[in-house]
Symmetry: C2
Subunit: 359 residues, 2 copies
């Protein structure tokens, strides 16, 4: 994605020209229209869209399944989310779940529900984003469902993946003294969201204003067009390091390390000074007067991989750019803590989206 294109499309919820009402097509016509250009890429995809169910030939591997439901006004805000980006992100978020099992995403199904506020062209944009992600990750879109909603846009994506039986990595298999590693950097998607929300408020106050996104390209891209870290799996396989446990960071580091600790029945210590935070994220955090550690710990949607490795693999890992050792697992009696720069131990708490509390 070029940042320019991003800027131009922001705050244009929908182009007004070329509007085809969904009622002109009907349900079957719409599905046919949206799926007619889908090409099957994977040899295992025997049947895609167009029958009661998709058909997939997996041979001797394990099948992985992951699903997400994204809702306008809860998970995304149409004011600043271009539909193509939304489709891309919806697909990538599910690929990330498959990758976090050490698997390869192979197929997705997509159910979309829209009110008649959306035009055919809007849905095409959404599908274009989904298909762009499928193209990039070599995944087939094999089915779905398209219906009306009374209001708003709902997207449910289910991803299938595969993994060899002896390669699958779970959340509950971390061992005491394992090192905790994270890919990439953290907090960017969260800071991007903060910026976009700020500009939305300014835009509501003055619709003629130009959004001030100068210097925030990185964090906005982290929010609007995340990637799943398939490349990290290849690197780990290349140096013959198998994570002992793994999860993707969708809810935030604090919540996601808690899943590994709870499921593996262990405690852990993470070190504030080890948390990987990009300069642009630090700058944005300063603008909002929050610490970059807070953004890194509690911000969600980075889709980085959080995993544990045996201490013996440390030498291999430390040479890899883009993977940071941030702590270690310990006895459950020691709890789950962040050790600050000053040496204080702060207990970590799962944040999740706490979406039921916020509303």
């Amino acid at each position: 994605m070029h940042s320019n294109a991003l800027k131009i499309n922001l705050f244009m919820a929908e182009k007004k020209e070329n509007r085809t009402e969904l009622s002109e097509l009907g349900e079957f016509g719409l599905i046919e229209h949206l799926t007619k250009n889908i090409k099957i890429k994977r040899p295992g995809t025997i049947k895609g869209v167009g029958d009661d169910a998709a058909v997939i030939d997996i041979k001797d591997k394990l099948v992985l399944v992951s699903t997400d439901l994204l809702i306008e006004g809860v998970h995304f805000d149409m004011t600043y989310t271009p539909l193509k980006h939304l489709g891309y992100k919806a697909a990538v978020a599910n690929f990330s779940d498959i990758i976090a099992m050490n698997g390869v995403p192979t197929q997705i199904t997509v159910s979309i529900s829209v009110s008649n506020r959306y035009s055919l062209e809007a849905l095409e944009e959404l599908y274009n984003g989904l298909l762009l992600a499928c193209e990039k990750y070599n995944v087939d879109l094999v089915g779905g469902d398209t219906t009306t909603s009374l209001s708003g846009l709902y997207i449910s994506v289910t991803a299938l993946g595969e993994v060899e039986k002896d390669k699958v990595v779970y959340r509950d298999t971390a061992q005491k003294d394992d090192l905790v590693c994270v890919s990439g950097d953290l907090g960017g998607a969260y800071m991007g969201l903060m910026i976009l929300e700020r500009e939305k408020q300014a835009f509501k106050a003055d619709p003629d204003m130009q959004p001030d996104l100068q210097g925030y390209d990185y964090v906005i891209e982290r929010q609007l067009k995340p990637e799943a870290r398939q490349d990290i799996l290849k690197i780990l396989a290349g140096i013959d390091v198998r994570p002992t446990a793994m999860i993707d960071i969708s809810d935030g580091l604090a919540s996601d390390i808690m899943h590994i600790c709870k499921n593996s029945e262990l405690g852990c210590k993470l070190y504030e000074d080890k948390l990987p935070v990009n300069q642009d994220v630090m700058k944005a955090a300063m603008d909002f007067n929050i610490s970059s550690a807070t953004a890194a710990l509690n911000g969600g949607e980075d889709y980085e991989l959080l995993f544990t490795i045996r201490q013996n693999d440390f030498e291999q890992i430390k040479a890899i750019m883009g993977i940071t050792v941030i702590g270690h697992m310990c006895d459950p009696s020691e709890g789950v803590h962040l050790v600050t720069d000053k040496g204080e131990q702060i207990p970590l708490q799962a944040q999740g989206w706490d979406s039921f509390r916020d509303k």
Copy 2:
């Protein structure tokens, strides 16, 4: 389901006692609460709820995937849909898609989105219905997602299934002169919906009224608690008859035979006097002054199987109770027609839900 229980629960959208606010649990607490009693039944289910993705071991079979998104106010009306029934139906509708491929449903994932109008007890009811269907059909619930919505209830179910490679049945493989068969009887779910809608209007006019459902047990059960016809597959396998093409009747006979015709590039003739209609459906249709053929052709959600067989299999099929031969496939130049009792040929048209037109 006992009809008495059905009557008592109708028009009680939610019990007021024992209300636990979702905000008391938070997202992770809610997922844990709803999934803690799920027991894995199938040997192929390696990992269910609780990791990034479910893990399934399929061996040498084909994997089938089907997905549906159900939306309050569009696909169901909380006024007369008990949540347990809704969960049951949401699962069964997806099982039916897998069965229509001649497959065995094996796992489902469920994403639910609710506004805080719903209590924990309401979600438990919904889950109880989902799990009851899973129990009956020997399916494992292996994952999902639970989030807030701004309003209303959204349920997305994805079903996985399996089928041996040489047993899968598609929509596009009917042959000219094949016989068209249907299981069970048609139009019941549609007439049940008409009755429930009528009583809803009466209830809105006078909230003290008792709904008049006398004599409509059958059609209401068809609407609120449908079953998927796994038994029919067993019968067909038992007499060694393999359908040449198959689909489940979810949109209505007219729409669904059209899918077989279009995908198989054939025409067909269906005979009005052959359409299987239950006496209670006929009676209900008369009350509403519509022909039972109209209910059978255009009513959806019966979840019966519509399939084609070779003429050679006719002798085997005609002895089977609960399967009716209703017509035959023909050259595409002859079109898709219903032959009426009077010998007139009426072109059939796909109705679907036409949901984009209705709103």
